[in-house]
């Protein structure tokens, strides 16, 4: 695979796609660089480029080859990579969004137990399994670790509304879990899933391979865009959004569901920025300050 001068690999997905891989392992530095590079490419309004799709540590362009030869776009990529070189200095625009989650809810518990034949454990549910493999003695401590620090959306993809997010903690504190041995054929809509080092809220009911931890009370996908905070779009998350999962119990879950169904739920959401260098200097201090507005 050929490389740009900064060492990023690039390759062509036949006549319509260009794929660029900055790294083969997850790192927040590279994610933020991907966001900065793809923002720069979007701002450049390249002729013939129809889609610019950031992922965790890679990105993709889709183009119309009758307007732009895929090979001619590499020069623009090279420029964007040059101007977005110093990832440590990066500050991105972001939104802090609170997602109320009913952890250990009855619906996902029921669902996961139907698929033990595809799972690493015969008797534990997904939450118990995640607590166990991450060295927690009970699920409550795992829930505290998962909900205590926020996550940043590092890849919007798979299906509309799906936002794979990475927790804002040092690498050694990352919660990790394998994906199912074989994917489930069923997942409740709005289930909170964790796979690898990533958490997501499943936008719709369907297949899935992440470990299920609970269920969000609020949607991330709405084909009718009924809630104001969707801003007329059918999906809520954007790359770079910061999600704070707030544990709730059944009464609050039902109350929020009713508000959502009636179409007047308002997300707890604040415009913010994310400063990687400041975060890396003092993760707990940075998060405490970031989350101050939610108190």
């Amino acid at each position: 695979m050929p490389r740009l001068t900064d060492g990023s690999r690039f390759s062509f997905g036949a006549d319509e796609f260009v794929f660029v891989e900055l790294s083969d392992e997850m790192s927040l530095e590279q994610t933020l660089r991907v966001i900065a590079i793809t923002d720069a490419l979007r701002a450049a309004s390249l002729v013939g480029v129809t889609d610019i799709c950031p992922a965790h540590v890679s990105y993709m362009l889709r183009l119309d080859p009758t307007l732009m030869d895929p090979r001619d776009v590499i020069e623009s990529l090279e420029e964007a990579h040059q101007c977005c070189g110093q990832s440590a200095d990066l500050v991105i625009q972001s939104r802090l969004i609170e997602i109320p989650v009913f952890y250990n809810d009855p619906w996902t518990r029921e669902t996961v137990m139907r698929f033990r034949d595809r799972h690493q454990s015969n008797d534990m549910n997904d939450l118990e399994y995640c607590a166990s493999v991450n060295g927690f003695s009970d699920i409550q401590s795992f829930i505290e670790a998962h909900s205590g620090n926020p996550f940043i959306a590092t890849f919007i993809g798979f299906m509309p509304g799906n936002a794979e997010s990475y927790q804002l903690v040092p690498r050694k504190e990352q919660l990790q879990a394998p994906k199912y041995l074989r994917p489930r054929t069923d997942t409740p809509a709005r289930a909170l899933g964790h796979g690898g080092a990533f958490t997501t809220v499943y936008p719709v009911r369907g297949a899935g391979g992440f470990q299920l931890l609970g269920r969000a009370a609020v949607p991330v996908f709405d084909p009718e865009s009924r809630l104001d905070d969707f801003g007329g779009k059918i999906v809520l998350p954007r790359a770079g959004d910061i999600f704070k999962y707030r544990p709730i119990e059944v009464e609050e879950y039902e109350a929020i569901r009713a508000e959502v169904e009636e179409g007047h739920y308002t997300y707890t959401m604040h415009e913010t920025t994310f400063d990687l260098a400041a975060f890396q200097k003092d993760p707990p201090g940075y998060n405490a300050e970031l989350l101050e507005v939610l108190r």
Binding site: F12, G13, D15, E16, D24, P65, P160, V204, P223
Partner: protein
Amino acid sequence: MITVEAPGLFSTVQDRGRPGYYAMGIPPSGALDLYAHDVANVLVGNRRDAATIECTFVGPTLTFDEFTVIAITGAAAEVYLEGMRVPMWMSQVVRANQTLEFRRLATGARSYIAVRGGIEVPSLMGSLSTYVASGLGGHHGRPLAAGDTLQVGAAVVPFSSPCGGVDVPDSDIPSYPSELEIRVVPGLCDYRLTPSALEDLYSTPYTVTTEANRTGYRLAGKPLEFKPRPAPFGAGDDPSNVVNLGYPVGSIQVPSGTELICLLRDAVTGGGYATVGTIISVDLDALAQAKSPDVVRFVPVSIDQAIAARADRESRVQRITQNVLR
């Protein structure tokens, strides 16, 4: 208005697709066989971006409430209008209250029904295409069902006049063989495969399985081995795992090295398996006409060849359009 008497196996409203939303996780959708879709529209004097009905294996039974002109292209099916056989790849006059019925499918997998004016459904993000997995676009985001009624639009080419008997030369009608060559531009993460696996990918046959739909086709054949490596942080333990990345439409992935998945126009836009090459856009048409147990051989080609094949398809459709309008 068109009434759906019987929906067929899986019939959806599709146009040329919904570009521009891939980064939101929304694939382009659109007709899987764009050539057949385009030609069907051309034959009835429609704009090429008019919506057609894409039928899978078994087409629908439709009643038209007024005079119109239709054309059916793609997979060779036995189609009858009030008991009279309707030729494929030729425009056909339909009179008020006549019923069109699909029977046996001979070769191919997907037929396209164009109606003069195009199928009219609400436009979603610039397209009329149906994306069933998320229930978006098309006719209520789902395949057609018995009792549905469809409106006809006005997506016609100016000054074209509707008439029956407009056809295309035999040389412009694709055959849909059960053994096919599919051209692939090697690349993406194929550096992760062993050299012998790369050789196998382009030299051994793969069989289309029954898990083949608008999202993707699963192919069975010789397993492909990945180079062993320490799992990169965040990728997952299996050698075929990667830190989740974007999947091009047409990309080929090999979960656990055992089965090939080729993504089509309703692709999931990303995931955690290494991609090992991309089918050229023109040959997505051909793959979408394959069905289990057809046999696919992948042929490596350059980007120049991919672009030339695309230009060739375009000039064929242009030529057909000129002949029809003449």
